[in-house]
């Protein structure tokens, strides 16, 4: 029983991290129909920028803030200069954004070197809650908390505010949204910034959990995509449920069938997609 509880806990906390990454990606995907292979790079660069801020100031909250804002700006620049021209060209989007991902990977290597680093977590977030034989690291609880707060804020903004209504309208039908006077371009740009911002924040949070190291970008990218497509592009609820599903499958796969751990993750995902190509909560 203890095994199951702690594995579920681990799976959920990893799912929480994935949600931070996939929440923005699903909006970018759903709203702009952009296949953004640079999303993993925002995660990686966010971690690195956070690392530098921690080194300079020692402040964890400041690290998250600076990384999130810096990477959001980077994402917007990239979108303005290149991506918005490639509407409807999936192949072009894939290749361009992979190109950016390689460039960012190399720049990170130049600036931060090839060493793996760990972002030191604030003292308050270290240690663990113990109940009997069970052991819950505080940091994992913190990740779940962050994801829950972000999910709530996103839900509130999307469902309860005027801007959110404009965003949903743009997801549903960009042309009609433009027709009723919504500035689709500005909304799209904000969503892109938001996605990059969340991914970079996730990078800092993950930096104290799995570390910051070259290759983390392409390691986590397939997970984020799988979450988004299984949940359904543009669906926040789908991203949440997809994250939990992927987090749990990944964790149980690794614990129970180590030799087939990725198979137990990606094969069910492929089958779900084959049955429901638009994902669990996606609309065609």
């Amino acid at each position: 029983m203890d095994f199951w509880i702690s594995q579920v806990f681990n799976g959920v906390s990893y799912g929480a991290l994935l949600f931070l990454l996939a929440g923005g990606l699903t909006l970018i995907f759903g709203m702009m129909h952009i296949v953004n292979m640079t999303h993993g790079s925002y995660f990686l660069l966010g971690g690195y920028v956070g690392l530098t801020v921690i080194w300079k100031t020692g402040s964890f909250p400041l690290a998250i803030l600076v990384a999130a804002v810096a990477i959001a700006v980077l994402g917007v620049v990239q979108w303005r200069l290149f991506l918005h021209r490639l509407a409807g060209e999936e192949l072009g989007q894939v290749l361009t954004t992979v190109g950016f991902a390689l460039i960012f990977q190399d720049l990170a290597l130049v600036i931060w070197g090839g060493e793996p680093y760990t972002i030191p977590a604030p003292a308050a977030l270290t240690g663990a809650f113990n109940t009997g034989a069970l052991y819950f690291p505080v940091y994992r609880v913190f990740m779940i908390g962050v994801a829950a707060v972000v999910a709530l804020i996103l839900w509130f903004v999307l469902e309860r505010t005027r801007v959110g209504a404009m965003m949903r309208a743009t997801v549903d039908d960009a042309e009609m949204a433009g027709g009723v006077g919504i500035d689709v371009r500005r909304i799209s740009m904000s969503v892109f910034a938001l996605g990059a911002l969340l991914a970079a924040g996730a990078g800092v949070v993950a930096g104290a959990f799995v570390g910051v190291y070259p290759g983390a970008d392409f390691e986590i990218l397939p997970y984020a995509f799988v979450v988004v497509i299984v949940g359904g592009m543009g669906s926040l609820r789908g991203a949440l449920i997809g994250s939990l599903l992927v987090g749990l499958l990944d964790n149980f796969g690794k614990a129970l069938f180590p030799e087939f751990s990725y198979f137990t993750l990606f094969a069910p995902m492929a089958v779900i997609l084959a049955v429901r190509p638009t994902g669990l909560f996606g609309r065609a």
Partner: protein, 323 residues
Amino acid sequence: MSGPAPARRLLVPLGVLVLLLAAPPFVSSYVLTLLTQSVIYAIVAMSLDLLLGYLGLASLGHAAYMGVGAYSVGILATRHGAGFGTILAVGVVLALALAAVFGLLALRATGVYFLMITLALGMVGWGLAYRWNSLTGGDNGISGVPRPALPLPWSLGEALPFYYFALAGFLLSLGGLWVIVHSPFGKSLVGIRESETRMRTLGYHVWLHKYVGFVIAGGVAGAGGVLWAYYNGFVSPADLELGTSVEVLLMVALGGRGTLLGPALGAGIIVLLKNLVSVYTHRWLLILGAAYIGTIVYAPEGIVGAVRRLAEGPAPAPARPEA
């Protein structure tokens, strides 16, 4: 289509072919290495072109078929001492079988959904190679793959004979694929790319045609993987990772999709770029990244596509539906 006579259009490819046949004995061993890698990757790129260029389906999982071919070599040659013929047959059949399974899932989707489902399927292949230690050697891969021992007057253990061996594989694949894309079946694939509805109305079994094209592409990529493993003497999960699939996609896009020879050229350029640039600078990722972006910005139809457009004047844009 107006423009130069077919004979003139063949001039450049024929010239390149003569060079590929005649020059290698006189080039350095390093250049020979690059040429060998290029012709092998060209096989994989051309197989993807069948999907991307002729069917209009961008796959992010093509490395999986190459990987199946490569691991067939790694496992059968090192542990079971199997010969080349057996391994090639097994590798291609397994790649066909994998494509047959993946095709059932992937062809339910199109466009961006197809891209994503093939990404997930490609990760399945990578995950198995990476984690199924008892079969694949996990992250370490399988090393010590011997070169094929064939009853030839030359040893394939040497660079030059192996180059010609790989070149023969390339020419056979090119010939096979050329026949396919110029056959009525190949024309039907282009028809499906342009308008599935029209082809269905005309009585074609659209899904079956796509499926057969998908499976053939997988099988050819598997053959490329077999050669790749023999060339490297080593197989590892890196052969199946997402980056490899994307790289093959870039080769096709850069060379010119839907032209077969274009993707082969793209393969040569990318292999050259990766190797040469890394000799002069550590910043080869930067250059490769710029190549990705540059391809889309400056040559969206690929090199061969652009050259043809320049040579032939404003060609009728890729066969618009007539009605």
